[in-house]
């Protein structure tokens, strides 16, 4: 919307707040409502918002396809990696008690990384799906 000045300015103001808020939801998820899924969806929503207002190409420039696809795979790998870390440190798979000296802290750390993995995967998948749907009809046919 090149001529839609209001929307562009508002979006420019809002998007950093949305991303910040997504991070808040992610890291405050232990203490209030929130967590990996929500944060992932909100991050994806922010970038989709950007893409809606400034155009898909701009969003693709900000968030290239390669990065998104890497995110999709990396999230699952982070999650599985947490499980493997527990395995290597002498526990069972996905056993967080061994991740730190104090079992409760180990749990906390494990939950944290698992949530990060979930958020990365979810936002990557949502963004990728959006890109696929939005770019499908745009190629010259």
């Amino acid at each position: 919307m090149r001529h839609n000045l209001v929307l562009r300015v508002v979006a420019k103001l809002l998007i950093p707040f949305i991303l910040l808020f997504a991070l808040y939801v992610q890291f405050h998820g232990d203490f209030g409502p929130g967590g990996g899924f929500q944060a992932g969806v909100i991050i994806a929503a922010a970038i989709i918002f950007y893409g809606l207002i400034y155009g898909l190409d701009a969003a693709r420039k900000a968030m290239p396809d390669r990065v998104v696809e890497t995110m999709v795979a990396c999230g699952v790998l982070i999650y599985a990696g947490v499980g493997l870390a527990g395995l290597f440190l002498g526990g069972n798979y996905l056993d967080y008690f061994v991740l730190d000296h104090d079992p409760a802290h180990g749990q906390h750390r494990g939950i944290f990384w698992v949530e990060v993995g979930v958020a990365v995967t979810v936002s990557g998948v949502m963004l990728k799906i959006f890109y696929m749907f939005a770019s499908r009809g745009r190629d010259p046919e």
């Binding site: 839609n4 209001v6 929307l7 508002v10 103001l13 809002l14």
Partner: protein, 109 residues
Amino acid sequence: MNIVLDVLSWACLAGGGFFCVVGGIGLIRMPDFYTRMHAASVTETLGAGLILLGLMLQAGFTLVTAKLLLICLFIFLTSPAATHALAKAALLRGLQPLLTAMGDKPSKP
């Protein structure tokens, strides 16, 4: 002091609720799209603002108030933008205001 705050916040909440309902009734009763938009904006600014103000008075100086302020900012930033986009889209789409149907000249977008 406490009682004053309570009374103030109650007044704000009641006023906000009242304006919200007024906006809703306007949304039903108004004759065409643009006037309806006007009615809806009553809900979105005055009603929302008053209710949030009432809640803020209840909450005192905490993180909650900061969040409420953030919500307030959010509403006041986004809902006019959304309404603006809506009106522009409707006008470009060719939805005429009711006035023009009554014999005025159609206004240029």
